[in-house]
Symmetry: C3
Subunit: 356 residues, 3 copies
């Protein structure tokens, strides 16, 4: 169960070179993504209507995607352009195609009702002044303002909401990421969770004046600095998009000019009920440290996300060992730290039910 009337990231632009074809499953739909030599993208169900061969095994030609079995060609609209063994093209010679858009280096597709896609804008958070301007995903584009590492793709063998849960309750960083972030401070932070509109949450973490060595290094905060201002704000957009904004500056300094500010974009797309795609990037405001902060966070987060991947895989496997495919929204033991999870799951359930 997933909300299907939503834009989902199915791929990163660089995965689809001109003439490239990619098989990818999104919301339980096996899809063939392809890019024509003119740069146009097509997304169709990965099943030829002739003998049901996977179209993703085909090749791109001028007119579209040619099936690898008997050579039928389908345009980006899914309509058959050519049947090599005969001249007439029957009306039923077509395959379902999906709305697709490309923005900020990402390929977004709409797996639901295509009629609703046209008027639906791509997801984006409200932006503000300074570093907040990057919240509309422009932070993913390398520029004078943003030093960017990524995007990267991780295949995770877990229901996508487990990965969303993971990001919505960062108390796990004290345990899962003890070896990387070592961030016990998150356990006794003061959290303020706000809903924005009908499918967004923001979670502000207030920290006591303490920070782990890896974080200090990441923010280029001198060991001698006794007092500092550090912050973490997480922005969630249903069902699977999150930007974590975090940073630190020595007390009395100016966030914008002196501190290190990192936007960590996380985009989680359901593959099947028990697997998901995880796209992520690190964007460093004003590329602080001339790439040094960006590279430190890229390396540290890559290690941390490998820990998350293992955690989520263990969790999913354990759900299956006990006979269920996914974690119920109303699991028995709900802690205070789960508040954002509870709110988010309620929103996703509502979106899913609306489509039922």
């Amino acid at each position: 169960m997933f909300p299907r009337n939503s834009w989902y990231v199915a791929a990163m632009s660089h995965e689809l070179v001109d003439g490239g074809v990619l098989a990818r499953t999104v919301c339980n739909l096996p899809l063939a993504l392809f890019r024509k030599s003119d740069g146009t993208l097509g997304v169709v169900i990965d099943q030829c209507p002739h003998r049901l061969y996977p179209l993703s095994k085909g090749t791109v030609v001028d007119d579209g995607l040619r099936c690898g079995y008997h050579g039928l060609v389908f345009g980006t609209d899914g309509i058959c352009r050519e049947i090599p063994s005969q001249t007439e093209i029957p009306a039923r010679a077509c395959v379902r195609s999906f709305p697709v858009r490309e923005a900020h280096g990402l390929v977004w597709i709409w797996p639901g009702d295509a009629a609703l896609a046209q008027s639906a804008p791509l997801p984006a958070f409200d932006t503000g002044p300074g570093y907040q301007a990057g919240l509309d995903f422009t932070c993913l584009e390398p520029s004078a303002t943003w030093g960017v590492a990524g995007p990267h793709h991780i295949a995770i063998n877990a229901n996508y909401m487990l990965a969303v849960d993971n990001l919505l309750d960062l108390t796990h960083t004290a345990f899962v990421h003890a070896a990387t972030f070592d961030n016990a401070g998150v356990l006794d932070s003061e959290r303020t969770i706000k809903a924005l509109g009908d499918r967004q949450l923001v979670d502000f973490f207030g920290f006591k004046n303490s920070m782990s060595a890896p974080l200090r290094t990441g923010y280029m905060l001198d060991d001698a600095v006794p007092l500092f201002d550090n912050y973490l704000e997480t922005y969630w957009y249903a069902p699977g998009i999150m930007i974590l904004v975090h940073g630190a500056v020595a007390q009395g300094g100016d966030r914008e000019t002196d501190g290190a500010i990192v936007l960590n974009t996380n985009i989680i797309t359901p593959a099947t009920e028990t697997s998901c795609h995880y796209f992520w990037a690190q964007s460093v405001y004003r590329n602080r440290g001339e790439g040094k902060v960006r590279d430190l966070w890229d390396v540290m987060t890559r290690a941390a996300f490998a820990e998350d991947e293992e955690t989520l895989r263990n969790q999913q496997a354990n759900l299956e060992a006990f006979g269920s495919a996914s974690l119920d929204d109303d699991v028995a033991l709900v802690l205070k730290a789960d508040k954002a999870i509870v709110l988010a799951r309620r929103i996703v359930s509502r979106l899913t039910k609306l489509e039922a």
Copy 2:
């Protein structure tokens, strides 16, 4: 679903040396095939009636097949000959055995009602003069008349009818075998399909005067020859036997004496619903070129059948990805090139329903 009252090739003779045992699944029946030291063949259900151990893990003794767990011995008739730990042999100490015949280097078994097997002849096509005399499978036996490569065995992870479809619509050779046969000529050939009796089809392909370089080489047709006579006739016998007769001769030449004539025997036997056995051989009439034509076609076809294996595996996996185990006979988009497939599947469905 398969017609079971039919002779199927379960193995090649050379797979069963004297004293040899072979596990093989045919029509969803796990079987143990064995050959006694006197050359006699036995085929029994691969399950000892005692503690249900696989008999194919046993050893051949003078009286039959000895179970590897507690040593019971079963004859080729499936009746128990010996129980090492006691003297009496209870009546129920027997295992289902199957009619078996050996001909032309192949082991044929009858997985259905044994009472019907005795009067049922082994499959064979009508023969004619010259090279057509080989259509009764004598072309599989090396002789002055036939240069033979094979038989070979390929295990294919696809429903057997997908493999039959593949052979019944050779337009796929233009795409699947572009790198091997490169035979685009098949796309605009004139085809004449005839039913013979109630379980055979013949498909004659009329070609325009064009031929790919690999085929020319295979037929030993000089590049300088501008006009030629080439032909392809395919003989199908329900459910899974096909001989493809093909060849070429320079215009004005004599097929029998100057041209290269190849009989490609293909025998497809269902294993499970999602896998099959593929036995194939190349027979070259009068061993044209003293083995050269035979070897060229053996090598080229081996490469092409690896392409088919991959294609069929992809197709089967895609059916399963979309939730079905096999391709329905009434798939939505039927092309003109599918005419033989439609006729053949109708015949096989009728044979299967007759047994239901």
Copy 3:
């Protein structure tokens, strides 16, 4: 289906060092076993009540087992001791724990109704004078009386009753272990089977005066000795515990002082319906031959149990190939040699039904 109100061996003591955690499935229950630094053992369901993470991926702390995801700590009683992100501990913050005892180097757990465990003694056979004193499992503890090899653990992909059957019908040794024990004598032995109480069987084997070379070597019986007294007694305790007592002495010699006497302990614990744990050891009375007999039997039995493992795996796979998960108690062909199997399965069925 297994009787759950029984003590089962879940692990060997040496598998759980101080601070160690072990994942093990017993009677279809995925469990986390752990040992605190004070040596105390805990056994809990391998699923954190918070977000259902496997507790076996956690770490042992002073108070118990800490979950690896968000750090909750559970005591050996399954009650939560600590929630790092909050101070109150809700009542439902607990996980099912299981009675556990440790004896003779083995960890015994009670997967059924915990209320019944307290008054239930650990399994043990009646002991007698001399070597029979070891039948209460004290033979597993190395001492002046016992030379011990093991215990060892084998994971077997077969229903546990198939492994029990295997031990209850030793006629298989003539075939499965032809290369190791070569013990055809078992085929025409005279067997006397007696039930003791409501969950024990004893099976006495009377042999003719013959013995294979490997057994002779194992018992240190000189090749020149023409006549000897050899014996085999098997003690079974429902559902999966067996001690095989066997030995030999030259005719006229004294069993206690001159002969080699071996107690082979076998403890079979259900994992899932299609897999089990096999714990085994060799105990040699008075450590005959100063460790030589012990080592000979350890090596020979290790090889033989690899043969059993393969046999049981083949048998289980064949049951599944034919569509069933386990062997019915009323399999069609029952031989005389199956008498103990029939009696034992009747007892286990009764125990299982009692709990239904």
